[in-house]
């Protein structure tokens, strides 16, 4: 508890939290303040910002602010889902391997390292381009999560194997706890704050990854996303035409989300990670 209080005294953490809360507010409270509609053309293509359309319109004449809100929601969704998938898969494999040690751990480590050297982006691009129609937002999130979990697995494995040497784990064993119970009761609780930090990082990474592949034109077919807005702006010559409102806000948003999550993570690490604390 005391640690949590300490966290709220760190300016960087507060800044990160504020920025992240602001993006959440824009995504979910925005529609209460202004009208969000991405299916009707409200004016000419690339209308400059005005009182009626605060961020102008895009290449089709759709309200840009509406596009942003929907894109932001999609990005957060991808980030969250991919983050959850990567954290759960990575944590399970990492904790189990770290605790068990031996051959199983070796196999898992090789597997982890294999996934680590496979460039996620290339796999994503290959997968995405081979599935033109089925490329839904959820699928993209799952692919991102399914290829980036190795990072959490490695981080968690190291922590878990150092816990294995603690006597409370040995005591649980001679109390007759099963391996699964030990992992869930004796090891996971010690890693919770750590896993939460890993989750935040995984989320940030997923949001950036989605933006990258969407910008390459391999975004979801069923949804708007911040990356797709950028891609649209690029393919419809908004950059050359100096139509800044078509790409700047999306770019700023992606940066702000990723930045705020990284800052939150760094601050938490400073507080929770005992080696930095000591």
């Amino acid at each position: 508890m005391q640690l949590v209080k300490g966290l709220f005294k760190i300016p960087a953490f507060l800044l990160g939290l504020f920025l992240f809360a602001a993006t959440l507010a824009l995504a979910f409270l925005g529609p209460l303040v202004f009208h969000v509609d991405v299916s009707t053309r409200v004016g000419d293509p690339y209308m400059a910002p005005s009182a009626a359309h605060w961020l102008g319109t895009d290449h089709l004449g759709v309200d840009m602010l509406s596009m942003l809100v929907m894109g932001l929601r999609a990005s957060l969704y991808v980030g969250f889902l991919a983050g959850v998938v990567a954290t759960i898969v990575g944590t399970l494999i990492g904790v189990y391997g770290g605790y068990k040690g031996g051959l199983l751990d070796d196999i898992l480590t090789v597997l982890t390292n294999l996934f680590l050297v496979i460039p996620t982006l290339i796999v994503l691009i290959l997968l995405s381009s081979s599935m033109d129609k089925g490329r839904s937002l959820t699928l993209i999130a799952l692919i991102i999560g399914g290829t980036t979990w190795t990072w959490s697995a490695r981080a968690v494995r190291a922590q878990s194997s150092s816990l294995r040497a603690r006597d409370h784990v040995a005591l649980a064993r001679i109390n007759g706890f099963s391996t699964l119970e030990i992992v869930l009761e004796q090891i996971l609780p010690y890693l919770l704050s750590y896993i939460f930090m890993v989750f935040i990082l995984q989320t940030a990474t997923a949001i950036l990854t989605e933006a990258t592949i969407s910008m390459l034109g391999l975004g979801p077919y069923d949804s708007i996303s911040l990356g797709k807005i950028l891609n649209d702006a690029k393919t419809n010559e908004a950059l050359i035409g100096g139509k800044w409102w078509a790409f700047m806000p999306a770019m700023v948003l992606v940066t702000v989300i990723a930045f705020s999550l990284y800052v939150i993570n760094t601050a938490m690490e400073g507080v929770f990670n005992p080696r930095l604390r000591k």
Partner: protein
């Protein structure tokens, strides 16, 4: 009041640090210090209850007492580390004449901790981070004090200091804690704690997990640090009273948050006048021929809970020679046979029934 300037027993001078001309100015003064914890249920636990002592330049004071008697809490109190749930109740702690109890933690960290007073924490051996090299942990200590120190100068400083305390600096600094034997680890902990040449070092059970040979080496190292004037005085905390014979010139025995006997080493170890300190000596187990059949003094029970005031003597519940009035009359520290004692019968034969040795 304080105990008169300690005289180092002859046989100790051979092993102990060379005595310095005793300067009269106290480095650390603790005056009627009271410190309490607040538990999750809101109870107040008075873990240190009215402790006074002063530590002079060049002096080593040993504090002995059983687990839970408040030794570590006293250490935190002396260092001004009042981090909830630990709070300062009353009394004063002065380092170099300057009170530190009113300081904020930040101020304390910046001006006092590590530089004027440093701690060798209890269980430091097991609390070293297994994933970091010794040199990284040592560098943190320097950086915490001097943020602008560059890598090279830190490295030089660490190597110089680690070599000086008799370690193979290149090897040790680049090792992870698990790769080192316990004795070496403890030397590293001591080396890191004293990097900034603090005046007072508080060693909280630095030898408790160690075998006799390693224990000896650690004590020797602490003496060397004093001889080389890296540190100037020391508080040595332990639960093994006999050990202090070879460490300190004066001893305070602590029980349930209070000092119960405070005098010179000779007085407390060989001529204790308080049942608890006598029992501590009497329960010593020694691998000397013929000692196997000797029954050590065993004291059942546990110290009283400190969440409410205790009317009489705190040791009375367990005292083998407790008298009917011990549980009701409040005991104060008074001078008997040249040392401070907290026992109504300290000057009678009653206490002599405990322990033995005289």
């Amino acid at each position: 009041m304080t105990v008169s300037a300690p005289v180092r027993p002859l046989e100790q001078a051979a092993s102990g640090p060379t005595p310095k001309p005793a300067k009269s100015n106290a480095v650390l003064e603790v005056e009627d210090l009271r410190v309490h914890y607040v538990t999750r249920f809101g109870h107040k636990i008075q873990a240190v209850d009215g402790v006074s002592f002063s530590l002079k330049q060049g002096e080593i004071l040993g504090i002995a007492g059983e687990s839970g008697c408040g030794k570590t809490t006293l250490v935190s109190g002396c260092m001004g580390l009042y981090i909830p749930p630990l709070f300062h109740t009353s009394g004063d702690v002065r380092i170099d004449g300057k009170s530190i109890v009113g300081m904020t933690l930040e101020q304390n960290r910046k001006e006092v901790l590590g530089q004027k007073i440093a701690m060798i924490p209890q269980g430091a051996l097991n609390s070293l981070n297994p994933t970091r090299k010794i040199k990284d942990m040592a560098a943190d200590m320097i950086l915490s004090h001097d943020e602008s120190a560059d890598k090279k100068s830190i490295n030089d400083r660490l190597r110089e200091r680690f070599t000086r305390i008799g370690l193979d600096a290149d090897h040790v600094l680049n090792s992870y804690p698990v790769e080192l034997p316990a004795g070496t680890k403890q030397r590293c902990v001591i080396g890191i704690s004293t990097l900034l040449n603090p005046k007072v070092v508080v060693a909280d059970e630095p030898t408790s997990a160690l075998d006799v040979s390693t224990q000896k080496a650690v004590i020797k190292l602490l003496f060397e640090l004093m001889d080389q004037e890296i540190i100037s005085s020391m508080l040595f905390i332990t639960h093994e009273l006999p050990l202090l014979r070879h460490v300190s010139s004066s001893i305070a025995v602590m029980y349930a948050g209070e000092f119960v006997e405070y005098g010179t080493t000779e007085q407390v170890i060989f001529e204790g006048r308080q049942p608890y300190s006598r029992a501590l000596m009497g329960s010593m187990l020694s691998a000397e021929p013929g000692q196997k059949s000797r029954k050590p003094v065993a004291i059942e029970g546990a110290p009283p809970k400190l969440d409410k005031p205790i009317p009489g003597c705190r040791f009375a519940e367990r005292c083998p020679v407790a008298q009917p009035d011990c549980r009701t009359t409040e005991q104060v520290l008074r001078i008997v046979a040249g040392r401070q004692v907290r026992c109504k019968y300290a000057d009678t034969e009653v206490v002599e029934q405990v322990g033995g040795g005289l």
